[in-house]
Amino acid sequence: MKGIIFTSDALLAILISTILLIATAQALASQPTSNLAPLGLQRLQADALAGMDKEGVLATALADGDTAEIRSFLGIMPANLCLTTTVRNQAGTLMLADQPACQCTGAKTTAQRAFLRITSTGVLEPYIASMEGCFT
C-alpha cells in the first residue's frame, strides 16, 4: 500500500508545522492586548495628586507628619491599584512617605506634582509630590 501522509517526511513536516503554530499562538497570547492601561493609571495618579493639592490634603499631611489623610483620600481609587505617595522638599529630602503593603503585577507608572505650602511664619515652601502606581 502506498501512503502519502504517513511517510517520515510528511510526519516531520506536520510536526514542525504544529510546533510553529503552537509557538506563534503562545507568542501572540503573551502580548498585551492594550497599551492604554498604564496611560489611564497615570491620569488617575495625576488626578489624585491634583485633588490632594487643591483640597490641602498634601499640605496638611506634611504639617502633621501623618499620611492618614492621604490614605483616606486614596480610598476613591480602584481597589486593584498599589499606590505609593512620597513628598520631597526642594533639596530632594524625603519629607513624607505613604507606602502600603501591596505587590505589583505590572509595570509601574509615576506622576508628579509641585505644590506650595505656607509655613507658620508665612513663608511659601515648594514641594514635589510623587505617586508611583501599578496594578496588583
Partner: protein
C-alpha cells in the same frame, strides 16, 4: 503501437488527497482572515471610542465650558453654548454645573444635545457618565444605563472633587449593536 492510458491521473487517490488538503488550507486561511478582519475592526472602533471618551471626560472634568456660566442659561444647546465643562478649576467640579448637566441629560432631547456638545455625534453612539463617591454611593448618573457586554464599549475613569469630596467620574462610550 502507442496505447493511450485509460486511467486518468487527476482522479488518482494522491491527487484527490492533495486537492482536499489544498481546499482545507484555503478554507482555513479564509476563516482566519475573516476572524482577523473582525478583530482588527473591533480594535479600531474600541480605540476610537477610547480616544473620544478620554477627550470628552477631560473636557468635562477639567474645563468650565464656554461660556463659563453656561449653567445659568435658560436654553442649553449647540446654538447657545460652544462646549460643556463641569469644573470651575481643573479637577474641581462645580456642583451647580454638575446638577444642571445631569438634569439636562435626563431627558432624551437634552441627552442628544449633550452628545452634540461632547462631539459624540456618530449614529448609534451613546454614553453613560457616573459620579461615584469613595463609599461607592452613586452621586449622579445619566439617562441610559451602562451597556451590556455584547456592545463595543470603552470606559475611562478619572478622579475629581465635588463639594470637597473625591468622586470617581466614569464615562462609558458605546455603540448600539446593528439590529
Amino acid at each position: 503501437m502507442f496505447q493511450p492510458r485509460k486511467r486518468g491521473q487527476f482522479f488518482g487517490a494522491d491527487a484527490i488527497l492533495a486537492f482536499l488538503l489544498v481546499l482545507f488550507a484555503l478554507v482555513a486561511a479564509g476563516v482566519a482572515t475573516e476572524s482577523l478582519d473582525s478583530q482588527i475592526s473591533t480594535t479600531e472602533i474600541t480605540h476610537r471610542l477610547t480616544e473620544r471618551a478620554t477627550d470628552s471626560l477631560n473636557q468635562l472634568i477639567r474645563t468650565p465650558g464656554k461660556p463659563a456660566d453656561w449653567n445659568l442659561l435658560t436654553t442649553v444647546d449647540n446654538t447657545t453654548i460652544d462646549s460643556l465643562g463641569l469644573s470651575h478649576e481643573a479637577n474641581l467640579l462645580d456642583p451647580q454645573k454638575v446638577a444642571r448637566f445631569f438634569n439636562l441629560t435626563n431627558s432624551t432631547d437634552g441627552f442628544e444635545q449633550a452628545c452634540v456638545l461632547l462631539a459624540i455625534r456618530e449614529p448609534g453612539y451613546n454614553f453613560t457618565l457616573t459620579l461615584t463617591y469613595a463609599n461607592n454611593t452613586v452621586a449622579y448618573t445619566t439617562l441610559y444605563p451602562a451597556p451590556v457586554q455584547s456592545h463595543i464599549a470603552a470606559s475611562i475613569e478619572r478622579v475629581a472633587m465635588l463639594n470637597h469630596e473625591s468622586v470617581r467620574a466614569r464615562l462609558t462610550l458605546w455603540i448600539e449593536p446593528i439590529q
